[in-house]
Structures are given as C-alpha cells and as structure tokens.
Symmetry: C2
C-alpha cells in the first residue's frame, strides 16, 4: 500500500478546537494537523494530540451537560471547532444506555448490566460517530468530496453525512455486493462505484487514488482522515460514563474489527480520568470476535504480542477484518486492564441476537450478537465477574443483517376463530 | 365488530398521573379510567380527559427541560404515573428535528423547513411512542399480555416493548405476510400467530378474543387500550414545539393512516397553548395520503364531511387503511386550521424518498415519501406557503421498505485502476 506521509493541504490556521497536532503512536513524533495518517519517521499510526490544559473540571462538566443530545456535547474533547453543532452534520450519538435487567437475570449478572445501543444512530450503526468526525475534518481541510471503501455500514454513513453537509460523496464497493446493501448505500444519491475485484482490490485502488492528482480534494474517511475519524469512538466512552452518572463501569465488552474502536474507548476513559470528570478506579476491557474471524482472540489466547492475519469466514461481516491494524494495541489494553479477548461461533452469534431481542427488545446486528455471545461465554468461563457493573456494546442494527435470523418465524398458524385459538394452546 | 363498552378490570385507584377519566369525543359522557374504547351512551370514541389545573407554566417548563431525552420528559402531560421513567419501557422519542436547508432549497421553502425524523425511535417508527403509552396502561390495569393485530411496524414495536417490560406478547398477523416482515416481528421471541385470512379477518378475530374469557388479562394496544395508545402521538407535537424553542410551527405536514396521529398532534398543540408553554398563534395542519389509499384526501377535495372507504392499493403499506376511523376529525382539523389534505402517486412517493435521502441523508419509509411528496405538491400548487415555518413528519425507516427503492444501484462499475476511473468520468 502506498503510504502518504506528507499533508497535501496542511493549513496552520485550521481550527479543530482542542486538537493541537498529530502525534505518532509509536515514536511520538509530532506534525501539524493535516490529512495524513502515517508517521513520516517510523510509519506508525498518527493520532490526535490535544491541549486540554485550560479546562476547569466542573465548568467542563456543566458545559457538557447543557450541550445537545448528540456527540457534540463533547465538542471540547474532540477535534472539531467549538461551533460544530451549528454546522450541517448528521449529529449522531447520545444513544440509549439500556439497563438490561432481564438479560442480567438470564446471564446471571448481579452487579448491573447495561447495553449501549448504537442502533439508535441516524443510519443505525456506530459508524455515524466516526464519519461525523471525519466530515468536520474534511470541512476544515477544504475537501469537497467524502469517500471510503466499504462493504456495508460505512457506505451508508458516508452517503448520509455527505448529503446532509452538501459534500459530493463517492463510495467504492466490490461490484458484486448483495443488492440490499447496494440499495442502502445508493439511496443517498452520491456516486456509488462498483470495483471489479474483491474488497482488497477496492482498498488498493483507494490508496492509489489518494496519491494521484485525481484524488485531490477527496477526504477518505478511514484513510487520509483516519486520525480524526477514529476519535469518534471516544464518544462511546464519554456517553457510557456520563449516562452512569459520571462513573467508570467495572467491565466493558467491545467488538473488534480493526480494533480502533476498542483502543479509542480506552483513550476516552483515560481522558475522563485525567480531566477529573470521573473518579479513577480499575476497569477491564474485554474484546469480542467471531470465531470465523478471530485473529486477535487467537493471538490473545496464544500469549502473542503480534496478530497473525486470517481469512474471514463469518456471518459477522461488519467485524470481518482478517488483518486488524490495531490488533497489537488491543492485546495490550486487554492485558493491561485485566480483561481478555474471546470469540464465539456463528451459531452462538445467532443465539445471542435472539437472547438480546427476547430479553430487552433490542434487535442487534451480528456484531451485537458477537458481544452478547462473548459476554455469556466469559461469564460461563469465570473470566468476567458477574458481580461487577458491566457494559456491553451493540454497534449496529438487526435490520441490516436480517439473514442471520431468517429462520425465525410464526409460532403458530390458526383459523380466524376462538376454537382454533384454543386448539393451538394459546389461551 | 363487537364493541366492548364496559371495563372488565376498572380500578378507581389506578394511577395514570394527570389522566382523570375517559371522555367521549362525540357526546362528552365520562367514565372512569379503564380498558375501554367506545362510549356506552353513543358508541363514540373515548379519549383521555386530563386535570392540568395544578400546573404552574414556568415550573412545568423547567421540569420538562430537566427530564430524560425521551417521551417521559412529558410525563406530566401523559396518562402515565409520575415515576414512569423508572419502569422498564423502550423509552422512545426525543428524535431529531432536522433543519432541512438542502431540502428547503430544492422545494423553494424560504421560511424554514424541518423534518421530524421518527426513524430514530428504538424499533425505527413512531409506533414506539404509542406502544410505550399502551404498555403503561396495560401495567396499570394489571394486564400480563400485550397484543395487537398488525401487518408491519406495530408488530415489532409491541414485541420489543413487551420483551423489555417482561410482558408476554402475542401478535396476530395474516399468515401469508412477506418473510422479511415476519422475521422483524418474530425476533423478539413473543407469540407470533399467523391467521388464515386477510387483515380484516385478523381484526375481526381480535375483537372476538377481547370479548371472550380467553382474552382476559390481554391488552390489545390499538383496541381496548386505544385511548391511552393514541395519546403517544401528542408527544410529536410537544417535541416539535420544544425543539423549535417552545414555538408553534406555522405549518405541519402529517401522514394519514387511521387519522389518529394527526388528531392527537392537534390536541397536543392545543394543550401547549392552553398551558401557556407556547404563544398562541394560527397554525395549519396538512394531511398526506398515497393516491392508492386516499379516502380522506378524496373526501376533502369533494367537500364531504364523511369519508367513503377505499380498497388500498399502494406501496405505502403503513398508511394503507381504507376506512380510517378518525377521517372525519381529520377533515375537520384540516379545514378549521386552514390546512388541506392531498395525495401523491406511488411514483411520486419513490421520488420523494430519494429527494429526502439525497438532500438530507434521511432514508425514509414510504410514509415519509408520502409526506415529503405531498409537501412538494402543495408548494407547487400554491397551497402550502413556502415563506412560513414548516415541519414535515417522517414516521418510519427506509430499511423497512427497501423494495420501494430497489431500482437504486451503482452509478458506475470500473476496473481497479486509475485509467478506468478516469474513463468513467469520475475524476
């Protein structure tokens, strides 16, 4: 993959609020804010460095609590200008943290079980959080086209956000994607380009385009805007703690695709501690994968520090990244916090989707089946402590992966009369 | 239809907050709160009569603003106990009121155009609002089973709410419904019973069941709990006004199925005026139907006071009620407020879905295509004033009616290289 290390449109006057610079996660080298994602010194991933020094804790808390019911209530902690809430964006976030008492009983959790239900976002997945961030970065850098490679949720999130903000969008997908997914991405009216090849071919092409004059003015949300994009996941940590009454949970169960979300949730929790918005105490982060794409779980169990790529084969397609970029960081966080990484079979994923729907009325995407299934397994194995406060993430909507539960159907068929009703044992 | 006029489990100690009694919409006859829906004197529809006399306007406003980000912020104005937010419910509402500047430009609206996007509710339709109310009534009356007849959105909303609240659910649908809709209703794990017959047969059977001992302890959300259920639609009016900064909009465009939603939005606006929460001023309510099921629009245009039933034939299935119970009330409100009732063809519905998605990134159900399409038509015909503040309702999610836009697809297919990209004119 061609790595672009020099910003093409860096502007020292760019206003992204408290974001001060880009900093390499590996070597700490700092560069000005710009549309770059890899360190020019060591090729490590760049992430946002902030200046939070001016904040008074209680004033900040008050400002957040008086903010809008979306991620922009946390604007002081994100790489966005202070007036971000006045700009056209799809305004995701502030989704429900459901106190899941029925699920807790089913799984034997006594310390308080919560489901953070991100199916409530505008396009019904957590991707709206990260795309909303990337959009503001694209605006700051003067980009006019929002783009990505995708096989699903991301395409819709980019299409919707671009439409609202008046950007052109151009989304690249494998040309032979299922018709339903194509419709969900196409309806927003942007360019939707089928690439003759598989998802790897699509990604390779996008990297080429970024390095070419034809890609000038294009913000690829998860490539040249990735440092900004990734920060969107911090808002999950912020919301969970605020919704718990400004407290850290004891345990979190988070899905792993690239691993970015899990690492940013940890970053968000650390920021809240440093800012004094929550009291410091230990918390454990557990990573969840599907067995058919479990490179991080496999490495965790083998005691490895590196992640060996796998060829994905699972119904949890939104998590099916065989070579997860943030895998080593996830291993580090799971071990450092006393958590773990676990995986479940596709059958267990489907069972868990049904358990969550039956107990809490939440219809989750397969990724939600993965986290609930892993939670169940970790409790059964004695790894997750049922007497502690636990938050499980559902990052998407069951309507997008209906096939997973296609076997579900009528419990009875009767004639339209009371005799038939009684015969069926329904009375 | 067998009309049950006497409450089977009326309890004078039932606590439903400010709800004081049931009152007949036709003759004003009052009866105690109970699971009844038709007046014992004249068979007119019963609705909730409130006692709001104790409220101080500014205290009430403060209480609402400090409330949760869901419909329970309006608990003092709803037939629910004061502590409703602590009970297990799916907590719908406080959905986005989107300032639709791009759509406004497209339609030529200069006075401010907003889309109230109810696809953000837990099961992604406004039905969550009404079912959440019915659930609290069911709890108050000691019911243990939540039920309904449905062909779509309502089945999912009832299944989800019952699961969360620990109720049994038993939903009746025509046995030959499309598999996708069956899955969306079945996943919550309640009883899902196919009736050998059409939707009318299903309804007739449900009425029989209510009158039979087998139906004891059953709350049919849209039959014996209908007076409570219907009040959920008032929250749309409350939210719109609060989100506009406690102001009435000048014009509202509301879909018509049974007509209940439109009449309750009017009731909600009137309550806000009487309570002093908004300044009194004229507003116009416009009703929207699909041409293939336009009994109210037809009556409006003909100058009739009564509505002649139609046999529905439209893709807007969630609005396809050929004999709308509240049709005459809708006609009255449209005429009294200076609004109108209009309809659009299925082709215009599909076009409007695409316009809304392309301009605002909102993927609406067919019902949203109806309201946006009717708004466009009313502006073109000079009936709706584009210089006034206008709110258009989207009551459901496009993911539930994907077939309507199935024709949408790739804008280009290319090989994975820059030459092919340039040849396609995408640069």
């Amino acid at each position: 993959m061609a790595v672009q290390t020099v910003a093409s449109t860096t502007d020292s006057t760019v206003d992204l609020g408290p974001a001060a610079a880009l900093s390499c996660r590996e070597c700490g080298h700092r560069v000005p804010l710009g549309p770059v994602f890899a360190c020019e010194e060591c090729f490590g991933p760049l992430e946002i460095a902030y200046d939070f020094s001016a904040y008074d804790t209680e004033e900040l808390r008050k400002q957040i609590e008086a903010g809008p019911a979306n991620i922009w209530r946390y604007a002081p902690l994100l790489p966005v200008p202070a007036d971000v809430a006045t700009k056209p964006n799809i305004n995701p976030g502030w989704t429900q943290l459901v106190k899941a008492d029925n699920l807790a009983r089913e799984l034997g959790v006594t310390g308080g079980l919560y489901v953070k239900d991100d199916s409530g976002n505008p396009t019904h997945s957590f991707k709206d959080r990260v795309v909303a961030q990337a959009l503001e970065a694209a605006r700051a850098f003067g980009f006019t086209t929002l783009s990505c490679s995708s096989t699903g949720n991301l395409a819709g999130a980019v299409g919707a956000a671009a439409a609202r903000a008046g950007f052109r969008s151009c989304v690249f997908i494998p040309h032979d994607l299922e018709q339903g997914k194509v419709v969900m991405a196409a309806v927003y009216g942007g360019e939707l380009v089928g690439i003759e090849g598989n998802y790897d071919d699509v990604n390779r092409f996008c990297s080429e385009l970024i390095g070419d004059p034809a890609g000038e003015g294009w913000g690829f949300v998860n490539v040249n805007l990735r440092p900004y994009y990734a920060e969107g996941s911090k808002t999950l940590a912020y919301e969970i703690c605020e919704q718990l009454g400004w407290q850290l949970p004891d345990q979190l169960v988070v899905p792993i695709a690239s691993g970015s979300q899990l690492t940013k949730i940890d970053k968000g929790l650390q920021e809240l501690i440093k800012l004094g918005l929550v009291e410091d105490k230990p918390y454990k982060i557990f990573g969840a994968q599907a067995e058919g794409c479990s490179p991080v779980s496999t490495a965790y169990k083998a005691g490895h520090d590196v992640v060996r790529p796998q060829k994905p084969n699972t119904i949890a397609k939104s998590l099916a990244i065989g070579n997860p970029a943030d895998g080593p960081y996830v291993l580090d966080i799971a071990r450092r916090t006393g958590g773990a990484v676990e995986d479940v079979t596709d059958e267990q994923v489907v069972d868990a989707i049904k358990i969550l729907a039956r107990t809490e009325g939440i219809f989750a995407e397969t990724a939600g089946g993965v986290t609930v299934g892993v939670t169940k397994k970790l409790i059964e194995n004695g790894v997750l402590d049922p007497t502690l406060t636990t938050v499980v993430l559902n990052t998407g909507d069951g309507l997008k992966t209906l096939d997973a539960v296609a076997g579900t159907g009528l419990t009875a068929t009767i004639r339209p009369n009371l005799d038939s009703f009684r015969e069926a044992g329904l009375a």
